[in-house]
């Protein structure tokens, strides 16, 4: 029996292969950063920029993306899991959300919070706005990506996460422990992307 072609284009197998290859490519970009990390510590901004330059160069060019936050170095062990989460968010934004819509906007902001000296946390907010409302239910968007954020990040990184998808907006919050080893750098990252007006 032939495998039924889905309306998303291609067979399930084709789509599986495409997404699998996408994830491998994302991991190999991370390996590139990791291989240079002794000379050049991996910052959150570098991780986000690497992923967005690969997937959403056009939206970057059109200045529909805003990145804002202090220099934060990430531990190698945090980088891989976190990079996969960013990859899923970016892929879904391109497919269903702000990066795929002409007037969509993405803002990624982060800050360091310290409830007490022993509890430093990094709070990342991924906010997409201005994508067209769709007929699909919110659950249609990224089963794997959502599971990664809502379940895998808490499990592996002790993160607290929130994934709030509405008709035309997505707000995803990721809040994870930031041990002292993940020091904020002395010199802030240069703002290589222009803030939105």
């Amino acid at each position: 029996m032939p495998i039924q072609a889905s309306r998303a284009g291609g067979t399930f197998k084709d789509r599986f292969r495409a997404r699998f290859n996408d994830r491998l490519a994302a991991l190999s970009r991370v390996q590139g950063l990791l291989s240079r990390s002794d000379q050049e510590p991996i910052t959150l901004r570098a991780l986000i920029e690497t992923e967005l330059s690969a997937l959403a160069a056009a939206a970057l060019q059109e200045q529909r993306i805003r990145l804002d936050g202090p220099a934060v170095r990430l531990r190698k062990t945090t980088v891989q899991t976190f990079a996969l989460a960013l990859h899923e968010l970016a892929t879904n934004a391109l497919k269903y959300g702000a990066l795929g819509a002409p007037d969509g906007r993405l803002s990624v902001t982060w800050r360091i919070c310290r409830a007490d000296p022993a509890d430093r946390r990094l709070r990342v907010e991924w906010v997409e706005e201005g994508f067209p409302a769709r007929a699909e239910t919110p659950d249609a968007r990224g089963g794997y990506g959502r599971q990664l954020i809502e379940r895998a990040l808490p499990y592996a990184l002790k993160a607290r996460t929130r994934y709030d998808l509405r008709e035309t907006t997505l707000r995803c919050g990721i809040d994870l422990p930031l041990p002292e080893g993940d020091a904020a750098g002395d010199d802030p990252d240069p703002p290589s992307m222009t803030p939105l007006p």
Binding site: R75, K76, T77, L148, R151, A152, Y155, A156, L157
Partner: protein
């Protein structure tokens, strides 16, 4: 040969694995085989707490490389308690310096059939 489900049925198996998706798959497979899964837990700290609070553990599967630590302290505690366990790793056996009392070293992915036969047969 005894089917794995008979060997696993009712066994209390501790799973230590830092990757959420692998951990969930393992848990589901062991439960299908009739085992009672303890955990899964992603870290040495969580594993030691779980072991300290659990009177009966029949066996354990330990991923060697956790997020930024090695699982060996967990192996030592299990060994001292006389609980059989095996290591699951993506590395070659030669890269693992010592068995720390493990019954075996298995290449990932480990399957419950192999685990059942190795630990309980």
């Amino acid at each position: 040969m005894t089917p794995p489900s008979h060997v696993l049925a009712g066994r209390r198996v501790l799973l230590v694995e830092d990757d959420y998706f692998i951990a969930e798959d393992l848990k589901a497979e062991f439960e299908e085989g009739g085992a009672e899964v303890l955990g899964p837990v992603p870290s040495v700290e969580a594993a030691l707490a779980l072991i300290a609070g659990t009177a009966e553990i029949d066996g354990a599967v330990l991923d060697i490389n956790l997020q930024d630590e090695l699982v060996y302290p967990v192996a030592d505690v299990l060994h001292a308690r006389g609980v059989p366990f095996l290591f699951a790793t993506g590395y070659d056996a030669a890269a693992v310096p010592s068995l720390h009392g493990a019954v075996a070293l298995c290449q990932k992915p480990v399957d419950p059939v192999t685990v059942a036969r190795t630990l309980f047969a």
